[in-house]
């Protein structure tokens, strides 16, 4: 790029970036949400129970297929798990987009008073960076990180284990009564996911097309080689083998007149063949004399078959 275009280009980019940033900063996010209506993605879990395990099946945000989240408790009895709309727990500074599923209200009893229950939340949908955040409306800081242990299991399954103390900050009922109400949900950084995937997917396209390019270059070389071989073979077929020259001894005793006669005969023979191949029925201009002669000959020939003549001669 020359200097002028470079400067123009730089200033254009700068202007655009400033405008974009102004839009991002000046347009309040809440107004934007209000303008575009409610979030269309609202995962609604369906719960099933099998023994001590309750399973929530739901289509999470930004996914098209359902996932399963399994809840299990040790140190107490898992009574129920219910879905809870994020709106009930909406607080400034917490973005519901970070929660890919609804929140879960887990009820546990049979915990020794002031004791601790361990809640395990397992899913193939979690990643090693997934956190579990707890909501307690009775506290001033309603949202807190549960500091869950994130354990990797076979088949890419992650298990989050949270220790919940009866009457502790994670217990929404706040009472030391052997019963725990534990509300929260698995959290992944929305922007981390969005930007991370952006780079991975964009370079993924480069990778896919680069592999295809390499494949095409290699196959192109093979095809070119095959075509060259084929062309070479065709050339070889086209080249006729040299006809061996017959060893004819010159007849010294032949007379010049005879040689001339033979030569003339051969010439006439071959030129006759040549002209025969190209012979065309081009009729020269016919004179009246010739036409009359031909008519006479034809009439004479066709007397036996010419019906008109036969009738005339009758």
């Amino acid at each position: 790029m020359n200097r002028l275009t470079h400067e123009i280009f730089k200033s254009a980019i700068r202007t655009w970036l400033i405008l974009a940033w102004m839009l991002v900063i000046l347009v309040p996010r809440t107004t934007v949400y209000a303008a575009f209506g409610e979030d269309l993605e609202k995962p609604k879990p369906e719960f099933t129970r099998e023994g001590n395990v309750i399973t929530a099946k739901l289509i999470p945000r930004a996914k098209s297929t359902s996932v399963s989240i399994h809840f299990q408790v040790s140190g107490g009895r898992l009574v129920s798990v219910e879905g809870m709309d994020f709106q009930e727990a909406a607080r400034p500074g917490v973005d519901n987009k970070d929660f890919k599923s609804e929140l879960f209200a887990i009820k546990i009893d049979g915990v020794p008073p002031d004791g601790v229950a361990k809640v395990s939340v397992t899913s193939a949908f979690f990643s090693s960076s997934t956190e579990y955040w707890v909501f307690n409306r009775n506290l001033k800081e309603s949202w807190m990180n549960a500091d869950a242990k994130n354990i990797s299991l076979p088949d890419m399954i992650q298990k989050l284990v949270v220790s919940v103390k009866d009457g502790g900050p994670f217990d929404s009922d706040g009472a030391v009564d052997g019963r725990i109400t534990f509300t929260g949900g698995p959290k992944d950084s929305f922007w981390g996911y969005a930007l991370g995937t952006l780079f991975i997917r964009f370079f993924g396209i480069f990778l896919v097309l680069s592999i295809l390019m390499i494949g095409m270059i290699l196959s192109g070389k093979v095809f070119q080689m095959l075509d060259k071989k084929k062309a070479k073979r065709e050339i070889e077929i086209q080249v006729q083998p040299e006809v061996p020259v017959p060893d004819i001894q010159p007849a010294e005793s032949i007379e010049p007149e005879l040689a001339a006669a033979v030569g003339a005969a051969l010439h006439l023979h071959f030129s006759g063949r040549r002209s025969g191949a190209d012979f065309q029925f081009i009729t020269p201009a016919i004179s009246p004399w010739v036409r009359q002669g031909r008519e006479r000959i034809m009439n004479a020939r066709s007397i036996p078959t010419n019906r008109f003549n036969r009738l005339r001669n009758r």
Binding site: T5, F9, F36, F202, L212
Partner: protein, 382 residues
């Protein structure tokens, strides 16, 4: 029957069975919008094959009480709803269009110069930047992906991805994609001139090598193997595209190839256009979101053009035989319009410079690139 009863009956008929009392301002605005698109298609000849059915679809569905996009009492879809449901919701029509496109495409320039595939990848830059930009404005991840793909300048891919991820944005996305595709000769040249020097625009490229029929025949198979193995989610689109191309190149099913290129393509284009237009009912379309989509769509095209040319500049740093950076803009797909724009701009710099065949390589790579980007998004949201 008394006069009062007759008047009441007439009033009841007028209110419940005629459109006039039910017509609202939003519908009038949408009918005017449909006139605008019909004008662009008919008078300006901007993508008329698509904008005529889309425009007429918008026109038809914005009359009140019309039984076109709803369901009957028995749950059967009404006329255009049936086209939409079975054609677009079931993701059939975009794939059939890809079949027809495959049957129409000669991959020769791409096979002769496979390096241009990288340009097709670079030109997807806007898809991902727009995806991020739209997230700032409150779009969900799926919506952002469907808006981002507009920059790929590939109508069927946009429709396929939007129908899958954000069907509520289908009308706006399709319209933005096709409108900007039609406006490629207006959008791209200033960016091309801005990003290249006159010397670079005058670069002459070596004539492409001849490609044998056998190579062309095997290309769809080889490309399918690589692409579908790496991105299985793109199999419906890419599979149909390559199948169409295989029918063309094998030469033994000329009837099928002709049908795919002509009759079938025309039929599905009519159904697609009407269905897409019919999604633009006033209550859905008249909001800020479509306006933002149009804004982001334009930005998307600009960045994709920028990305394609930038990729050529970067490639030229490593290549012995330099490529003319003008062919980079053709990486945005929009076949063959974008390639023609490269040719025109190249000839402005040097009347003896023939870039069209060189630009067809990135142009076709753009189709594969945008379909791959769509496949990436589908896999991401699976």
């Amino acid at each position: 029957m008394s006069w009062d009863q007759v008047l009441e009956l007439i009033k009841s008929i007028l209110l419940t069975q005629t459109g006039i009392p039910n017509l609202d301002i939003g519908q009038v605005i949408m009918i005017l919008v449909s006139f605008f698109f019909l004008y662009l298609a008919v008078a300006k000849e901007y993508e008329p094959l698509l904008l005529v059915p889309i425009g007429f679809g918008i026109f038809l569905v914005n009359f009140p009480l019309v039984p076109l996009m709803g369901f009957t009492e028995h749950g059967n879809p009404e006329l255009i709803q049936a086209f939409y449901k079975y054609g677009i919701q079931w993701e059939i029509i975009p794939c059939l269009i890809f079949l027809g496109l495959g049957a129409m495409t000669d991959f020769g320039p791409l096979i002769a110069n496979p390096k241009t595939l990288i340009i097709g990848a670079g030109a997807q830059l806007g898809v991902f930047i727009t995806y991020c930009g739209t997230l700032f404005f409150g779009f969900t991840l799926k919506e952002a992906a469907s808006v981002g793909i507009i920059g790929g300048a590939d109508g069927p891919t946009t429709i396929y991805l939007t129908a899958m991820l954000a069907p509520q944005l289908l009308g706006a996305n399709a319209l933005a994609a096709y409108s900007y595709m039609a406006m490629v000769p207006l959008i791209q040249p200033p960016i091309m001139r801005l990003m290249t020097t006159p010397e670079q625009r005058r670069i002459k490229m070596r004539q492409l090598r001849p490609v044998s029929a056998r190579e062309k025949l095997l290309f769809p198979l080889i490309a399918s193997i690589f692409i579908i193995l790496l991105i299985p989610a793109v199999a419906p689109l890419m599979g149909m595209f390559m199948f169409g191309n295989f029918m063309r190149e094998c030469g033994v099913v000329k009837r099928l190839s002709d049908t795919a290129q002509n009759a079938m393509m025309n039929i599905v284009t009519i159904l697609l256009g009407l269905s897409v237009g019919a999604t633009m009912q006033a209550d859905v379309f008249l909001s800020w979101k479509p306006m933002l989509i149009f804004g982001f769509g334009l930005l998307d095209f600009v960045i994709c053009t920028f990305g394609g040319i930038l990729t050529v500049h970067i490639m030229n740093k490593f290549l012995k035989e330099k490529m003319n950076p003008l062919i980079g803009s053709a990486g945005v797909s929009a076949v063959p319009m974008a390639a023609r724009v490269s040719q025109v701009e190249g000839q402005k710099a040097d009347p003896d410079n023939w870039l069209i065949m060189h630009a067809m390589g990135p142009n076709l790579a753009g189709v594969i690139g945008s379909a791959s980007a769509a496949g990436m998004f589908i896999a991401m949201f699976k």
